[in-house]
Symmetry: C2
Subunit: 351 residues, 2 copies
């Protein structure tokens, strides 16, 4: 993705490796400050995922894969059996950080499988790093393809509503729903994007930051205002990403997606989900909706112009807050699902 | 309403007059600080309404009436015709501050009508003050009655979702939807309230503050999480107030009400609107949905624990934000409307 840093435009991916260090754009300092976070061991990688320095189903999946590569490199002096056991433990540690999205499980399983026939720790470390890099590159390709395919669904002059940050920052590059927006914009369609701020974590400001980098015209609205614009016919299509897509086409995504889908359905506005096939949950494993820290609701991080620095302020009284991070949108409210393999009706979704 | 101030519990109304000063609980410093704002002239009253030191359709209506009384008292040395002309001008000034709610128009019209037969400025001032006080007292009575009537709709153990602050603070006392909650709680029903935070202005923190004063068990959620709890069957009834109810039963209320009503309807959860009859728009006058300052979306006021003081921080990048304050919920999504005159199906609503 393009990032303007000190007057220069540079190309970045969301997460990458430098030797045995997992590097990532720190999403907790954006949009106020662009900085790189370097995670040097398993706990730092787990902490970065847990505290959402990196977030988005494909991005945290790739981060966990790089975390496995890091663990393999740092521990390749162990006997191969011990290294394999360690990698399984590290994988479980990562999987426990964010239980809802399925990409991490799918990707990490693939990485662990590459070790199976190998009985040299050095070869295991090489294979794990190679597979992690391949998964990352495949995600870039899938997201590019999603944008290319999905942009056929976007008309000239379309007014698009995007919820959360299904952007380059939520993947390795391009994004899912935002990849469609990028392609439509590059094709010269005069699109306009309504960005929901996406409480509590305010991922909308990441989407707004990405769209600003790309020069896509957009505005920010509160989540509750989406219905207002849908009802008035001021939105032509809703685009969202996904954290997990069930075999029946139900979509698990950022909290608020369900109400948005119901309101779009009620107003006859197409509701389109974009996700790589790594987001498909073919196993129908049990779904746990992550309940995150109540402080994400009661406090916000912002920029204090008087102090000239970021500040975390309490915005609610000291009462109990509940913070479910995802909801389930039944397939009947989903118009189409765009993956790198094609555009599907939700009941026809295939890996 | 009960307010705990320095260890003591005191009774307050939202707005009242002391001689020619319009006094109000300052809703911009809550929930972090309880303070009284004193508006000493027309511009200070208009500014208090505009900046939401006082908010809520009935509360701003009564504030405008007190503002007229203040203007009449302060200008009773004018000849009666000039005083009447001045009062009309002041009324227009107040009505321009918040164009969507209809209570202010209904109430202010009533105050101006009391002047009609009077040809002494002293009598006009007395009549205006008397009428303003009567309107305030009628609002208290109406809200009490709404609570009494509406509480019959609340079952033992009900889990109630409340959007915005349809509370004592949005009226003169008791509230509309929250009056129902107060009565149900006083009757010993073991209710639990889900409070939506209500972005952008975060009126949910006022609701939470009121419920804390009353000892009603509750939790805060982000607006987008309402659908999650509705879908899971964890909410038995949705209660909201109104800023204007059209003769066909359509309800204009805080942004987000529409999506909430659609989601409640989709899940078979009763959606109940509570409002005094001053909120009924019998004239079907043209509806203007107020678009408020974008800074309400891009900035929030909170409490900075490090500084030990309130701070306003920017939470979004410096991009265009759109901030419609209200939306229209069609009557078909409204189960019942509770006024002080009874409980109505929306298509049977009467003044």
């Amino acid at each position: 993705m393009k990032v303007k840093v000190g007057g220069e435009v540079k190309e970045y991916q969301t997460v990458w490796m430098e030797e045995d260090v997992v590097c990532m754009i720190d999403q907790t300092t954006l949009p106020f400050e662009f900085s790189i976070h370097r995670a040097r061991n398993v706990e730092e990688v787990a902490e970065a995922i847990m505290t959402m320095k990196v977030r988005g189903a494909p991005a945290i999946g790739v981060t966990a894969c790089y975390g496995l590569a890091q663990a393999a490199i740092q521990n390749c002096s162990l006997p191969p059996d011990e290294l394999k056991a360690l990698l399984s433990k590290v994988a479980a540690r990562f999987l426990a950080t964010r239980p809802t999205a399925v990409d991490m499980k799918n990707m990490v399983t693939r990485v662990l499988e590459t070790c199976e026939g190998l009985y040299s720790s050095k070869l295991i470390a090489q294979a794990v790093l190679h597979e992690a890099r391949r998964i990352a590159q495949e995600n870039v390709e899938a997201c590019r393809k999603i944008g290319e395919l999905g942009s056929s669904l976007i008309s000239e002059g379309a007014r698009i509503l995007v919820h959360c940050n299904p952007g380059a920052l939520g993947t390795v590059d391009y994004g899912t729903a935002l990849s469609i927006v990028r392609f439509a914009h590059t094709q010269g369609k005069n699109i306009f994007v309504y960005v929901t701020e996406t409480r509590p974590w305010l991922q909308g400001r990441l989407t707004s930051w990405e769209l600003t980098q790309e020069g896509v015209p957009h505005c920010l609205i509160v989540d509750a205002a989406a219905g207002y614009y849908l009802q008035r016919g001021e939105i032509d299509v809703v685009l969202v990403g996904a954290d997990r897509i069930l075999p029946n086409g139900d979509v698990i995504n950022k909290i608020g997606t369900y109400m948005l889908a119901v309101a779009a359905h009620e107003n006859g506005v197409p509701f389109i989900v974009a996700a790589p096939t790594t987001t498909l949950d073919s196993s129908s494993s049990s779904l746990k909706v992550e309940e995150r820290f109540p402080e994400e609701v009661t406090h916000v991080k912002g920029y204090n112009p008087e102090l000239g620095e970021t500040a975390r302020v309490r915005i609610h009284p000291d009462v109990r807050a509940k913070n479910p991070a995802f909801d389930v949108t039944p397939a009947k409210y989903v118009t189409l699902i765009v993956t790198e393999k094609g555009i599907f009706k939700p009941d026809k979704i295939r890996t």
